[in-house]
């Protein structure tokens, strides 16, 4: 019986209005395909590429600054050329994408959890706790998020986990605000009163009854945020305060190439930049679709 329920659920999704809209929206499909491609790259990429560009033993300085394969003086082993260390650009970017995607999703999940929880409590409880949490949110919103991330990184030093912490630190506020507003509207609906009357405890009412009803905007913000976070990480790395030089990062690759950009060694900067662009555009296309789909006012 459980399988039939699952089957009907799957069939329900495939026959739903949302899926119909998705199938007929080329931008949404393009976004989804791009993200799927990047996710697969992140998962299986390192098995497909020829070298681990961050293992120094595999690098040869004689291979440095080889141009892409269609230019003169290229090496057939390096399709898109190499950087100053003799790293294969394709391999380096695959590792970079892996890092970007991992950071993007990690930060988004942390922000989503923290922000949604605080927003729920804030909106439901009201009073002093609400004022405190919203005060925090307002102070944070008055600083540029990149500045907050930079301050955190300067205080704690560099590293992958530290950059995740730094970006989460500034990213949760949007969720808290949105969820608080939606919760305040939801908590006065009768189903909440009904759940209390049935005898559920406060936390059950909050997390099992109200939470699913405020998730719609959260999902939309999350999709759009993944792109923003990836860009922020690249920015911080480009500025030299993000990912340490021993770890792969698209932003770091752009920074390395930027120095030699006008010496004709354009490929070191341009290819990671393009990859970054596609990644973020894919996320935004899907995010836009979800926003339109979940926004009842646009229907």
């Amino acid at each position: 019986m459980i399988t039939t329920v699952r089957m009907t659920k799957l069939a329900g999704i495939l026959h739903s209005e949302g899926f119909y809209n998705f199938r007929h929206n080329p931008f949404a499909i393009a976004g989804a395909l791009i993200i799927l491609l990047f996710l697969l790259t992140a998962l299986f990429g390192p098995r497909l590429v020829t070298q681990n560009p961050y293992d120094l033993a595999q690098l040869d300085l004689n291979d440095s600054y080889k141009p892409p394969i269609w230019q003169e003086g290229s090496d057939p082993r390096f399709v898109l050329g190499t950087d100053d260390q003799g790293r294969d650009m394709v391999s380096a970017m695959v590792y970079g994408v892996r890092m970007s995607v991992a950071i993007g999703f990690c930060v988004t999940i942390i922000c989503m959890t923290v922000g949604t929880t605080l927003g729920l409590i804030s909106g439901y409880k009201g009073g002093r706790l609400d004022s405190f949490i919203m005060g925090l949110v307002n102070v944070q919103l008055s600083f540029p998020s990149l500045l907050i991330a930079m301050l955190v990184l300067i205080a704690f030093g560099r590293g992958v986990w530290k950059i995740i912490l730094a970006l989460s630190f500034s990213g949760w506020v949007t969720y808290a605000r949105t969820v608080r507003g939606t919760t305040m509207a939801e908590k006065n609906k009768e189903y909440v009163e009904a759940a209390k009357v049935i005898g559920f405890s406060e936390s059950t009412v909050l997390f099992r009854h109200i939470l699913p009803n405020v998730m719609t905007p959260v999902i939309v913000i999350a999709t759009l945020q993944v792109g923003t976070v990836i860009l922020s990480e690249a920015t911080l790395s480009f500025l030299g305060i993000g990912i340490p030089i021993t770890e792969p990062s698209l932003g770091l690759l752009v920074a390395q190439g930027y120095v030699v950009l006008f010496s004709g060694l354009w490929w070191v900067s341009v290819f990671p930049g393009l990859v970054l662009m596609f990644l973020v555009v894919g996320m935004n296309l899907l995010g836009d679709f979800l926003r339109d789909e979940f926004n009842p006012r646009l229907k």
């Binding site: 009904a194 209390k196 005898g199 559920f200």
Partner: protein, 334 residues
């Protein structure tokens, strides 16, 4: 010997509310939403609670379940349910009573079901919480409940989401949820107000049957006196947070004694007799922040005299079990 036989015949007391006061402490002042309400309800009986919007009917209902949110507070009074004082129970104990021994039906079926869950999930979670039923047991009981409230092909409908039901059907589901744990008291807060008139009668009949056949008790809160009088044993009429008249249904409906109740009954169209203009009660409900001295109904009352301005009329028994809060009720010399 005779006395013992008499007590056996008389159903026992289920709920006794004494001098209940629930106030709301707003920025503008204290709103006395419920101000000294007393009534009792016996097992297997239906009590109708009538009054216009804002007279404290619903707040009384929520006070019984102790679900008054700040700035509201239960100031004083006693609520004895099945011999136990509810106002002295810790919150954890109350959670075991809510939905289990006392359940509530709300006015708006459109919003009282959670839109993101199927009907099955919503019935089963109540069964799991209070009865420990899970899986197939809970499913079967849920189907049985839906059949009981008159939902056709419940096996299929149980997997529906609330938006796939009509208003009347949703209210049936809500009734099913409120019956899920076989509560001894159901508080129905305007259960049919949001529905079509044709569905109203059907639903109230079904609810009446379900309450009567299982010897449950019900408090039926409504602003519709004719609807209430048809099903309830006793009626309470409330005005501005106070009980102004209470007694057996026939007495209150056919021999109303308070000018407000008389006005209410006069404003219902009659099916028989000569057609004439309906009467209305002149004036407005007083501002709850600025209650008149003495009788709250005085500014709208045609019979008001000096004494009404000074003294609040206490409830007086004018015939067996029929109480009225009016200085002139039941007097021949008025």
């Amino acid at each position: 010997m005779e006395k013992a036989a008499e007590t056996a015949k008389e159903p026992e007391l289920l709920l006794d509310v004494r001098e209940l006061r629930t106030y709301f402490h707003t920025f503008k002042g204290i709103v006395k939403a419920v101000d000294g309400v007393s009534f009792s309800l016996k097992k297997g009986k239906i009590l109708g609670m009538v009054g216009e919007s804002g007279c404290g009917k619903s707040v009384t209902g929520f006070s019984i379940l102790r679900l008054i949110d700040p700035p509201g507070r239960i100031e004083s009074g006693e609520i004895i349910f099945e011999g136990e004082p509810l106002l002295e129970k810790p919150e954890k104990e109350m959670e075991k009573i809510r939905g289990n021994k006392i359940s509530m039906i709300f006015q708006d079926p459109m919003t009282s079901l959670n839109p993101v869950y199927t009907i099955k999930k919503q019935i089963c979670e109540t069964l799991e919480l209070h009865r420990g039923l899970t899986g197939v047991d809970a499913h079967n009981r849920a189907v049985e409940l839906l059949r009981l409230v008159g939902i056709p092909s419940p096996e299929e409908r149980i997997l529906y989401y609330p938006h796939q039901f009509s208003g009347g059907m949703r209210q049936r589901v809500i009734i099913a949820i409120s019956l899920a744990t076989s509560p001894s008291l159901i508080i129905a807060d305007e259960p049919t107000t949001a529905l079509d008139v044709t569905v109203q009668a059907q639903l109230i009949k079904r609810l009446y049957g379900l309450v009567r056949e299982s010897d449950r008790s019900m408090i039926l809160i409504s602003h519709n006196l004719s609807l209430v009088s048809g099903v309830s044993d006793n009626i309470i009429v409330m005005y501005c947070g106070r009980v102004i008249e209470k007694g057996p249904s026939e007495n209150v409906v056919f021999n109303p004694a308070h000018p407000y109740t008389i006005g209410l009954i006069d404003s219902i169209p009659k099916m028989t007799g000569q057609r004439k203009m309906l009467k209305q009660i002149s004036g407005m409900v007083p501002n709850p922040l600025d209650m008149p001295e003495g009788c709250a109904f005085r500014p709208r009352c045609a019979q008001a005299q000096r004494i009404c301005e000074k003294e609040f009329p206490a409830l007086r028994e004018i015939s067996a079990g029929h109480f009225v809060s009016c200085h002139f009720a039941g007097r021949t010399d008025r």
